[in-house]
Amino acid sequence: MSLSLADVEKVARLARLAMNDQELQAAQVQLNNIFGLIAEMQAVDTKGVEPMSHSQDLAQRLREDVVTEPNQREAFQAVAPQVEQGLYLVPQVIE
């Protein structure tokens, strides 16, 4: 599998990355190299091997359902670009 320039443009848009033509072409080469690597790995016979979803062979540790976090709104909002009446402000969202 190899990515077309249009594929790269789409991925960049989905990731909200602004890229010029030169950057898109460079990214295309790099991504296709990665796909080459993946193709090599795909060729390995993995029949009977359980797919991993994490690099560590451990299970998730669970937390008791108890409130531990105090209200730190003031501290968090002190470093926010814009706040009003306790709300974080962002450029208007149009639905």
């Binding site: 994490h54 540790r61 359902d65 409130v67 531990t68 306790g86 709300l87 208007q92 969202v93 639905e95």
Partner: protein
């Protein structure tokens, strides 16, 4: 030619945990904006999610209650999209390995029109997965900006996905209601639809029988059963009209406007559904041992369907009564507690619950949990009906007083002198007097005017100030009249 309607539901239930799914911030509803938005909720760099055991437990409960497969190992994945109420740029959800797999829910469907009879149907559950809720956008006064409240961000959700097994609005609503009852019954969700604790997305398509599935449109975020029915009815008609007029249904996400009763497509997002899921490297696989499942199973209450079966088989109630009595856990608990005072009077107890108690709650705009009388009070009154101390009409009087002023049945019966006269000597004396004083009518009765019996009952009741035991009075009167 008829059209066939195909409906599947995705229901987001907010789990009733104290804290968020991946952090120890409170989930209490209605707090000041962002006072419950901790570092994880607002996605400060470097923070890591730690899974809430209480959320997993609730997912297990749901799996057990629907006979679903509970995955011994499930995986959290990132669902990537950009929106200001989702500060990480992805929602942690589950994708190909959800915590709850295939199951089923059996529902009672009340057809909405015609003379069709209620029927039972089993809806298959495809899966249920854990995920985090997003924050809320607040479109306030300031021009050009939107306010973001992240208190809700990270609230645990169980998204319950059904197979497209429903073929009418009535079936979809019955399924949603059954699910709503169930999640409250097993205590995993408060079911508060106004507060968004139970939100339904409905996938609707139409086809000719035997044809492959039509293109579906998804009605988002329905938060009332009434709106769900209206939205489905409108949408089905719209799709049929569109196709019959030579058009084509395009896959879309749509919203229902309760003011106009219409559905309309949301601005189509060019890249919608390109979420680029991948396993979240911040979270290890979730493992659920058989021992844990058994521990959770031991905490499950008797489920609505099991209760209904027991009410029918052991208590001799009708299926209809049994379904009304198990409409909520509060209702069933109240019924059973009241019944414990009069174990042999299930039918009378059921009649009072479904009749007077429900009607009075309705009139006062209360739900079962707010009922002003206790099950013990009701049970005490039923015991006095059962042992003949009070008549049915006397009981209604007792009930009204109990409801308005409180007090035990015995105290009210005493205070109001409602004890019925079951002394046959006293009733006989009373009947004798009436027969003596109405010789003409007695003669008419004896010559075949049976209808007059009611007239005598009325007189006798009046003479006893309504306190005569009706069954006894009837017997004695009949005997004496026939002379």
């Amino acid at each position: 030619m008829q059209w066939e309607i195909v409906i599947g539901l995705e229901v987001h239930t907010q789990l009733s945990t104290n804290t968020k799914i991946f952090s120890g911030a409170s989930t209490a509803f209605g707090a000041e904006p962002n006072t419950q938005a901790d570092a994880v909720s607002i996605a400060l760099p470097g923070v890591l999610p730690v899974l809430n055991k209480g959320a997993v437990e609730r997912a297990i409960k749901f799996g057990l209650a629907t006979g679903s497969h509970i995955a011994p190992r499930s995986v959290f994945a990132r669902k990537n999209y950009f929106y200001p109420d989702l500060p990480k740029g992805y929602q942690i959800s589950q994708f190909d390995l959800p915590v709850v797999g295939k199951g089923a829910l059996t529902i009672q469907v009340e057809p909405l029109s015609g003379n069709a009879k209620p029927y039972e149907k089993t809806v298959r559950i495809t899966r249920a997965h854990l995920e985090e809720d997003a924050g809320k956008s607040v479109h306030g006064d300031s021009q050009g900006v939107t306010g973001i409240d992240l208190n809700r961000a990270g609230t645990p959700l169980l998204e319950i996905v059904s197979e497209p097994d429903m073929s009418s609005a009535a079936e979809a609503v019955a399924y949603a209601k059954a699910l709503h009852t169930l999640v409250r019954w097993i205590g995993i969700c408060d079911g508060n639809m106004q507060e968004g604790s139970f939100r339904c997305d409905v996938n609707v398509s139409v086809r000719k029988p035997g044809q492959p599935l039509g293109t579906r449109r998804e009605i988002k975020n329905l938060n009332s059963f009434k709106f769900m029915q209206q939205a489905i009815d409108y949408e089905v008609q719209w799709q049929i009209d569109t196709i019959e007029n030579g058009g084509k249904v395009q896959q879309a996400t749509i919203l229902f406007n309760p003011d106009t009763g219409e559905t309309r497509a949301m601005r189509s997002k060019e890249d919608a559904h390109d979420y680029r899921y991948f396993p979240d490297p911040d979270l290890l696989p979730l493992e659920i041992s058989p021992e844990w499942i058994e521990q959770v199973r031991a905490t499950l209450p008797e489920l609505p369907q099991a209760k209904q079966a027991r009410y029918v088989n052991d208590l001799g109630l009708s299926a209809y009564d049994a379904s009304l009595l198990t409409a909520s856990r509060e209702m069933a608990d109240f019924f059973e507690a009241a019944l414990s005072a009069v174990p042999s009077q299930a039918k009378i107890c059921a009649n009072w619950m479904i009749g007077e108690v429900s009607a009075q709650l309705n009139r006062d705009g209360l739900d079962m949990a707010q009922c002003p009388i206790t099950a013990q009070q009701l049970g005490g009154m039923l015991a006095r009906i059962a042992d003949g101390t009070i008549s049915n009409s006397g009981a209604k009087d007792v009930f009204r007083t109990m409801w308005a002023e409180g007090g035990s049945a015995d105290a009210i019966i005493e205070a109001k002198g409602l004890k019925q006269v079951s002394d046959s000597g006293a009733i006989e004396a009373l009947v004798d007097e009436i027969i003596a004083g109405n010789a003409e009518k007695v003669a008419e009765y004896r010559s075949g005017k049976d209808k007059l019996f009611g007239f005598f009952v009325g007189l006798a009741m009046k003479a006893s100030k309504g306190k005569a035991n009706p069954a006894q009075l009837n017997d004695i009167l009949k005997k004496k009249l026939e002379g």
